[in-house]
Assembly symmetry: C3
């Protein structure tokens, strides 16, 4: 019991500090301080000031709404003079983080369930059609009946049960049908939230007013915080031609970067927009280039028979991609970096020790001072 | 060769440990232990117990399905007595992480391609219309023909080629057309996955049974794990009025937080729901407040002419935002924190050394004991 | 001033290094080196080589497009012989990260606004219907008028104002209506981006050519990088039966994992596909199992009365979930790990000290050599 108390007293009331050899040498002294300075500069300058190692980070949680605006006029033999507004070219009418603007289309009107000759040649491989040569339609549209019927005056093709007449997408209109879409605009509203810091902000900044928002168009230099984008400019900013892209369609990324230092005032936490084309144009390593999909409008004729208008819609899908990190001072990463920095400071002593004890002339003298030898060989 | 062996033997068979001065001083001893205790308490208590610094973390991968339920009745002169069910007010019928519930609408029936007078005044700026005064329609709906035609008995407006008659959205119905939507319910199913730990869970917990799920409504206090939400309550929880929001529409965030400590049993990994309004109501710094979009239903009349019913749908989009972190014991962050903690313990010695060697009365005596001076001035 | 200079000279030109006791003991020496080796092996082997602790990481930003292909044939008394193509079974026509393939349906044709008897029994609880017994329809479809009308020859049900006739979803077709969907294929295009490293890649690899892409089908062993998936195989890979799943619908996750070591060449950064079923099949703890939603096609009959075809669509929603981390060498995490490793090396000395000073026979002799006692008791 008394022994225990003595140990506890020893533990509490004794202070142990290493014994130090203080070598009065300019060379080694300066070198030691220089190495320590380098390490300190790295820890403070790089880790703390530049990389903000004292901050805890959080990833962004985001919500996006997109609204298109614009009218296009077309005048074709098939459809006549026709106006296209938002309800016509945005499909579907609303999505979560993206919007599809139809720029080109292949229209197949008045399809009904029936049988008709396949487009584009024989497809003899199916269901015993007696004409086993020629290309097969790559997109399955129906089921071959096995009969062979005239497609036009010169060629016969395989008959298929399908929505008839079949779509003929051999030729994609060029220039694009709705080439006027270049001047349409997108209004992108983005609300972000950093849950760890309970910090939220909108891309419509409190510093801009409604009249500005009603007339502005985004421009990286003059209007970097205007949330209204002209389609042609988006594509041009990514280094592509809108009219080329409009023919086959494609995917454009509207990237919004929110890098926020929440130790500063919220007014410095600003969105940065950039644009990138996301689909592959490399025809060598690609399948179904561009972007298109098929949808149909269904009708009942007076006799009650179902008709549909099939539309193969080519267009540009604009994906809004929101990313970013927020940082705020936190004790844990600070202490981890301080601790690591202190440990790294020990490297200075190790380096100098090597030089003093192995490289200098007086090394034997120093070793004698630093070390005290205690022999304990069992033999 | 022999020298090499000697060095290796020295390296392997010698053990070097620092020489220590043991100062028997109550003051310094206690202070040293106190500082060490503080650092230990921080490392163990804060870093390990509170912030779980021994855990590796992973972000959530999530999948959401939402299903709405409810019926509304309206009785207007234009549409008569009418029932609205899910297929009528959810647009589009399914989305990935969100659902749009139409609460208000401006209906423009029987539009056809044609020419008609513009709504709301002259728009003389376009295509040489001879009436160059008056407001211009802010939303482009068509192309001015240049003629000036009577809009009603007193005013003349610019004629436009468009889907006619034009939509008149000057007055938004108030109260909202489908104000009964307040009592609709949403069933939110959420499946989460932490790929690093291969841990997955659903927000329909294994502890609740089907009969409970068929009758429950989410309530933060009494039914915190019921995945069925009443629209009115969601908006109220975010501090807003459903009937106000229903008029112009808006965006509501249903936030599901999955913070899971996977060192404990999976039963403690539970979803936490919260609600937040995501659109900006500040009219000073806003453009197109609320949330609305236009879509059309297309018809062919018996003569084959295409008609459409244009609907400007105002409504509330519910975005389900899933976020969270899972943590599980891992050796790397543990060791990083242990290493940093050890390095920080060294701070105690540095602090006490400063006091002992610079502040205490007997400082010269202590310095003499701690330091051994070795001169090596080159001169 | 002179004193200040002396202090500065002392600070700059003096080098302090701890005094060391060098104990020549095979046992302790070897133990010390062994512990140091273990710690080094952990730091280098585990932290650096295995866990790549020298890398900074970034999370993936992704964009996905999905295209379905395939034709199904059905032959029922209600609809007759009918072909179903992409425009018929993909609803909505395009989404951002997912695609819904309808596999089963309950069709209610020619609905109009009106009154009709409720399906499936009395629902007396509503609006004073005089038959207060029997089950209530779980899904609200209309508003009870309070009258009681014959449903069929034997039973009377409550009359409701609704879209009439009402849907009868008591029996779900089994096998699934579009069971041929098992052979449909999905083409998934995925573009990823690591913003921190400005590295982007597509899941259509530059090493595959167009002719391969036109004919390949994903197979985990033989074609792991083909982006075309057969629906039946996706479901089978997740351990489920497509035909079972097609009846009630469900959610399948197509998981794409991009774990990239950007210190190596980009060719090694490859997508890994895996498949998981995301909906709950546990009928005990579930509500509305499977996946379905209702949508309607609207028609105007010659008299101008609005009709609709209500479709309760059961089907499989394929959610593409992209996740992954990219790592690249960075000085900060390297230094944090080096610093922590150095601090951990100190543990070896602490452990050996304990053995030498408390466990060995000669411990008093060693203590005497290591420690120098300085008394400073105030009394």
């Amino acid at each position: 019991m008394a022994g225990c108390c003595a140990v506890l007293a020893g533990f509490l009331f004794e202070y142990d500090t290493p014994r130090i050899v203080l070598i009065r040498s300019r060379k080694v002294g300066l070198m030691n301080r220089a190495v320590q300075l380098l390490i300190l500069a790295y820890v403070i300058g790089w880790v703390f000031v530049w990389e903000k190692g004292y901050q805890e980070t959080d990833s962004v949680v985001s919500s996006v709404t997109i609204k298109a605006k614009g009218v296009a006029v077309t005048n074709t033999s098939e459809l006549g003079f026709r106006i296209w507004d938002v309800a016509d070219y945005v499909i579907p009418a609303q999505e979560e983080n993206s919007i599809f603007i139809m720029t080109n289309m292949i229209l197949t009107m008045n399809q009904t369930q029936g049988v008709c000759p396949e487009v584009g040649g024989f497809s003899g491989k199916r269901l015993g059609c007696p004409h086993p040569r020629g290309p097969v339609s790559p997109v399955p549209v129906g089921v071959a009946t096995g009969r062979c019927v005239p497609f036009n005056r010169t060629t016969k093709t395989c008959e298929v049960a399908a929505w008839c007449p079949l779509e003929n997408d051999t030729y994609v209109p060029k220039p694009a049908f709705l080439k006027a879409a270049e001047n349409f605009t997108l209004l992108v509203k983005n609300n972000i939230w950093y849950p760890k810091f309970n910090f939220s902000k909108r891309n419509i900044l409190p510093t801009v007013n409604t009249s500005y928002l009603k007339s502005c168009i985004y421009n990286a230099k003059t209007d970097p915080f205007c949330p209204i984008f002209r389609l042609g400019k988006i594509v041009a900013s990514a280094g592509h031609s809108f009219q080329d892209m409009a023919v086959q369609g494609g995917i454009m990324g509207i990237q919004i970067k929110w890098d926020c230092n929440l130790d500063r005032t919220a007014a410095f936490c600003l969105p940065r927009y950039s644009f990138r084309r996301l689909d592959n144009r490399d025809t060598e390593h690609n399948v179904s280039p561009g972007y298109n999909f098929r949808f149909a409008k269904y009708y009942n004729d007076p006799a009650g028979i179902e008709h549909r208008t099939l539309i193969k819609a080519y267009g540009i899908r604009f994906d809004v991609m929101v990313f970013g990190k927020a940082g705020k001072f936190d004790i844990i990463p600070t202490m981890i970096n301080v601790g690591s920095g202190l440990a790294l400071l020990g490297v200075a002593t190790v380096l100098c020790d090597i030089i003093v004890l192995y490289c200098m002339k007086k090394r034997y003298y120093y070793r004698e001072k630093k070390y005290k030898y205690v022999d304990d060989y069992e033999q």
